[in-house]
């Protein structure tokens, strides 16, 4: 059975990728529905992308 540390690291990567995927999905849906650069969908999408990528970057350094 995998150690808790390994499971944790795997989960961090998995959810970071999920955040990025959600960010992209939000951006694509917002743009498809005619949303502008300051619409809620765009802002949330960018934020999800940033947090997902940021966490993935931190995870890759440790």
């Amino acid at each position: 059975m995998a150690s808790p540390e390994r499971v944790y690291r795997g989960s961090v990567r998995l959810f970071s990728i999920a955040f990025i995927a959600l960010g992209l999905l939000l951006l694509a849906s917002t743009l498809a529905n005619g949303g502008g650069p300051l619409s809620v969908g765009t802002l949330l999408g960018l934020a999800f992308l940033a947090v997902g990528a940021g966490r993935l970057w931190i995870a890759s350094r440790t």
Binding site: E5, Y8, S29, A47, R55, T62
Partner: protein, 683 residues
């Protein structure tokens, strides 16, 4: 990994046995995964009941309100991490205030947090029956709702009293936490595909009219409910050994992720259950029909139907255990919190008394459980949310100010984590985020007083009651000032039940037919001790003594009359034979000479280092009156004789008294064997 730091002196030094008993309360979780599970258990659940009450007033601005409240959450988290990592004590804001200010401020914070723990437990419990609706819609009816919620609180109390907490259950809790995160992301992801209509967020939005300024401020303050659990998470400070770099890593991104997910869920929620024109202005069903189970309401609006149905079951399967565990965690917070208040003499120590077996403050848990059930009965989520905001804003303001003040008062103290962005003020490096957080949370607290009538009066009533209670307790019962720090040890809060050992038993005999029973009783106890391994390698021992009363007219070592000597030896031989019937029990015999039988027995017990005396209570003397008739001493007890009474009073160990039943007049000369037993003695 850093070695555990020594515990603060205020919690006292424990003897090994006591320490072992208290271990469940003190044991440390280690590593980042443990920290993640523990913190997530304390923080990650509140969206399941916070979304509705925030959307009720925030309407289309709800996602932005969650982000704004998330900003306060981030700066609050930074302060709590600095304080918790620095002080390594339970108590969160109360503990910070104790070090930064005084006991009175610490009590105000602690008392405010106490009601918040109870509210979170009540809210989580109220939500459970509503999230069970996919099974049957009846479960959210009033009778079932209160019944299930009460059962949740009762179960959470039992688990906490028996110390069944997250410790040692990291794996299932980690699975639950991961499932919860996955569910929240799935609600957003599926929502984007199923109900993504950004225009619905702004359809009924007329800034500063609908929602108006009061509504925005109110919703923003109540949104902090979504981040309930900061205090509970900070209570873990002394339990956790995490590298400061890991701590920074978790705080840096983790604190941002939670508000972001909540904002994302709020955005999807208001697209799925949009704001519509109502009789009293714009409204959303999230704040009414679905206020107790908003996430279930959101996924019910997904389409096609099979997606909604599947998501409803998924939400039920994950949200229900998450909420149940949230109630348990909140009551764990209560138990730790009351314990901390008790050891600092802010509440009577009997309230924080630890169960000797499970090391949990069972009295406090039971009382708080009853209060939580009382909060459930009105089933008014909005009222509870407002009341929560009262306590949370007060405690957060005190916490932020404490962190700022500690930078001035104790700048050289080791801080494994520091709130970033210092500003220099009169030579001190003050944390700008904490100053900002203090100002915002103080304003938020004032807004609760201004805009929420019920929270204002109930909250102020709670604080007034608490302060009066505190003042009376400190002044009258403790005889100290309101601000002075007074601590009691953990040991003092744990009533240790002394373990009675039967390795070394003294058995006084009197040459009656009673003797066999007394020796048998002692032999059984000694043999049982031997079987349980309590006797160690040396084995159990019976020291059988026959006490001969030597009159004061004779020296103690005077030659005894032959019939007395022979009678004593005969009785001891018989007792030895009976005692040796028990395997692995050594029997020694001795004739003891003493001026009084009782004194001889007590002296023998001391000499042998006996752990227990098994004695047959001799009948009381028939000479009544004592001092009343001019005799020496007080009246004699009616049930036992003088020798037994003396032993019970003076024995240096436990006494197991075997007394005969009341004998019929004709049989008094030959008392029947013992049928009654009683224990007495000194701990």
């Amino acid at each position: 990994m850093n070695p555990p730091e020594p515990r603060p002196q205020s919690e006292g030094q424990l003897e090994p046995s006591s320490k072992q008993r208290l271990e469940p309360l003190l044991q440390r979780a280690t590593g980042v995964p443990g920290l993640f599970v523990a913190v997530y258990s304390a923080v990650g659940f509140s969206i399941y009941f916070a979304l509705g009450v925030v959307a009720d007033r925030g309407l289309g601005l709800t996602p932005l309100i969650f982000l704004a409240a998330g900003l306060l959450f981030v700066v609050t988290t930074l302060s709590y991490v600095e304080g918790g990592a620095m002080l390594r004590e339970r108590g969160g804001s109360s503990s910070f205030a104790r070090h930064a200010f005084n006991e009175l401020i610490a009590f105000i914070a602690g008392w405010a947090i106490l009601i918040d723990y109870l509210i979170v437990a009540a809210l989580a419990a109220i939500s459970v029956p509503h999230y069970l609706e996919p099974i049957s819609g009846d479960l959210s009816e009033a009778g079932w709702e209160i019944g299930i919620a009460t059962a949740v609180i009762a179960a959470a109390c039992v688990l906490n009293i028996f110390n069944v907490t997250g410790r040692g259950r990291e794996r299932p809790l980690a699975i639950l936490a991961l499932a919860d995160i996955a569910l929240q992301l799935a609600v957003i992801g599926v929502g984007v595909l199923a109900v993504f209509h950004p225009d619905r967020l702004t359809d009924q939005l007329h800034l500063f009219t609908s929602p108006d300024f009061h509504d925005i401020v109110y919703a923003a303050v109540v949104a902090m409910l979504a981040y309930a659990g900061i205090e509970a998470a900070s209570d873990l400070a002394p339990d956790i050994d995490v590298d400061p770099r890991d701590l920074k890593r978790i705080v840096s991104v983790g604190a941002l992720a939670v508000p972001l997910v909540y904002a994302g869920m709020a955005a999807i929620a208001l697209m799925a259950v949009p704001v519509v024109a109502g009789p009293n202005g714009p409204e959303t069903a999230l704040g009414h029909e679905f206020v107790e189970a908003p996430v279930l309401g959101v996924v019910s609006a997904y389409h096609p139907f099979w997606v909604a149905d599947g998501m409803r079951w998924l939400v039920m399967l994950i949200a229900t255990p998450v909420l149940f565990w949230a109630a348990t965690t909140a009551l764990l917070g209560v138990s730790r919190h009351t314990y901390t208040l008790a050891i600092n003499r802010q509440i009577p120590s009997w309230l924080g008394k630890l169960n000797s077996r499970h090391a949990t403050p069972h009295v406090a848990i039971a009382i708080c459980g009853l209060i939580a059930i009382g909060l459930i009965i009105p089933t008014n989520v909005k009222l509870l949310a407002g009341l929560y905001a009262f306590g949370a804003m007060l405690a957060i303001t005190i916490a932020q100010l404490s962190i700022v003040r500690l930078r001035v008062k104790d700048p050289d103290r080791r801080r494994p984590f520091r709130v970033p962005l210092d500003v220099n003020w009169r030579g001190h490096r003050l944390p700008a985020p904490a100053i900002f957080g203090a100002i915002v949370s103080a304003l938020a607290f004032l807004s609760v007083l201004a805009y929420h009538d019920t929270a204002r009066w109930v909250g102020l009533g709670w604080m007034t009651f608490g302060l009066l209670f505190y003042a009376v307790y400190r002044k009258v019962f403790e005889g100290t000032t309101l601000t002075k720090r007074v601590s009691v040890t953990e040991k003092a809060l744990t009533k240790q039940v002394p373990e009675v050992a039967f390795r070394n038993i003294l058995v006084p005999i009197f040459g009656t037919k009673f003797d066999d029973d007394i020796v048998s009783t002692a032999g059984r106890l000694a043999a049982a001790e031997q079987e349980e391994g309590g006797a160690g390698d040396e084995g159990s021992r019976l020291a059988v003594v026959y006490v001969v009363e030597v009159p004061l007219t004779l020296p103690l070592d005077a030659e005894l009359p032959p019939e007395v000597e022979q009678g004593a030896q005969r009785a001891l031989k018989r007792a030895s034979d009976v005692g040796e019937e028990y395997e692995d029990v050594d029997v020694t015999t001795e004739v003891v000479r003493a001026r009084k039988i009782g004194a001889g027995i007590v002296d023998a017990a001391r000499r042998y280092g006996s752990e227990a005396i098994v004695i047959g209570g001799e009948p009381p003397t028939k000479i009544k009156g004592g001092a009343k008739l001019g005799g020496i001493g007080a009246a004699k007890p009616a049930e036992i004789g003088a020798a037994t009474e003396y032993v019970l009073k003076k024995a240096p160990c436990r006494v197991l008294l075997t007394a005969p039943p009341e004998a019929p007049p004709e049989a008094e000369a030959e008392p029947d064997p013992a049928e009654r037993t009683a224990t007495a003695g000194r701990d």
